[in-house]
Symmetry: C2
Subunit: 185 residues, 2 copies
DNA sequence: ATATTCATGTAACAAGTTACATGATTAG
DNA sequence: CTAATCATGTAACTTGTTACATGAATAT
């Protein structure tokens, strides 16, 4: 159910096509919710059907015609109601952690390769988020930004995303150190 | 697909009934994967059908009869293969973060109540994980434990769980501070 | 008395994934 | 010349959620 509101929340940042939204929600760049393009297109159809977004078909010169979505008053009201209602408990589901949980029966070299590769992804995501943060702050310091900006939501979630990737990276490096020491025994 | 291996990994810690596993995978106590009892029972049936676990029906005196599951050689081999294969990218999906992303259209008092309530849950989970950690270490320091224990997986994932809840809590408090300052304007 | 715990399950539904398709354009 | 990008979609499938049911035992 949250995908729908994640999409509406993304549209607060401005009108966007399904394709553009699919970039925002891509696993490799998402910082508060992710979904595949197929999931988005299905949900966007429903948002249109339910009258929560306005759709404008925009023909382009040397690109396929796109549908640009914008949040309308009904959508804004639905998002407001959702954001004001209690949150559900945070479900932890990490494929990498399941593998580490099973570290003691795994092939250590294979697992080390996996963790190393994931660490690279965490590093890339961290760098990406840091660049987005710089662009958001635009020279101002954090406190000035929070005082002056009319929107704090995207900044706050980005901070959480940054901390998450930093922890992922630090933990990966710890796992690598421990497994390497184990292998040596 | 990971639920299946999360269950097998949980069985590395010893035989367990579906009911006991449903406690381990409960959102409020899980630290690497979560699932509802209904999901587990369905998957446990499949694990049995696929011959990855042995099932012993244990009648009890003043309790309903239970099925105790144990990892067999086929299950151990399947888990080993899974743990040695590459991990899929970490998908971020947080209901709370979607709400904070939409903070600027939400009712601030309602959102503050939500974040405060979530902070309480993070605190409870943090305390729970800290107790589990103490029990695991059993007086030894971390390095001694990692050197002596025959299993490091559960300790490593617990460390990640602890860091995650610590970050959740710190971020919640930050969000509360920012939203409170906003409300005052 | 009432709620919670133990222990399992069925049924219906919603959400998420994977594979595939189209067809033009631009970057390496 | 091949791969990636733009832009959307269909179909089939797997996972995850919600609501409900059973029935005894114990805790408040």
């Amino acid at each position: 159910m949250s995908l729908r509101f994640a999409l509406l929340a993304a549209l607060l940042e401005g009108d966007a096509s399904g394709y553009e939204l699919s970039k925002v929600f891509d696993v490799s760049s998402a910082h508060f919710w992710s979904g595949t393009p197929q999931q988005l297109y299905r949900e966007l159809d429903r948002l249109e059907r339910d009258g929560l977004v306005d759709v404008e078909v925009v023909p382009q010169e040397r690109r396929p015609t796109k549908k640009v979505l914008s949040l309308n008053e009904a959508g804004r009201a639905a998002l407001r109601a959702y954001a004001s209602a209690p949150a559900r408990a945070q479900a932890i589901r990490s494929d990498l952690m399941v593998k580490v949980q099973a570290a003691d029966v795994a092939d250590i070299d294979d697992l080390l390769a996996t963790v190393t590769q994931q660490a690279d992804e965490f590093r890339a995501k961290l760098r990406l988020f840091e660049r987005v943060r710089e662009r958001m702050l635009d020279g101002r310091d954090e406190e000035t930004y929070l005082r002056e900006s009319d929107r704090v939501g995207p900044f706050l979630t980005l901070e959480r995303g940054l901390a998450f990737e930093r922890e992922n990276l630090a933990w990966s490096e710890r796992v690598i150190a421990v497994l390497t020491a184990r292998r040596a025994r």
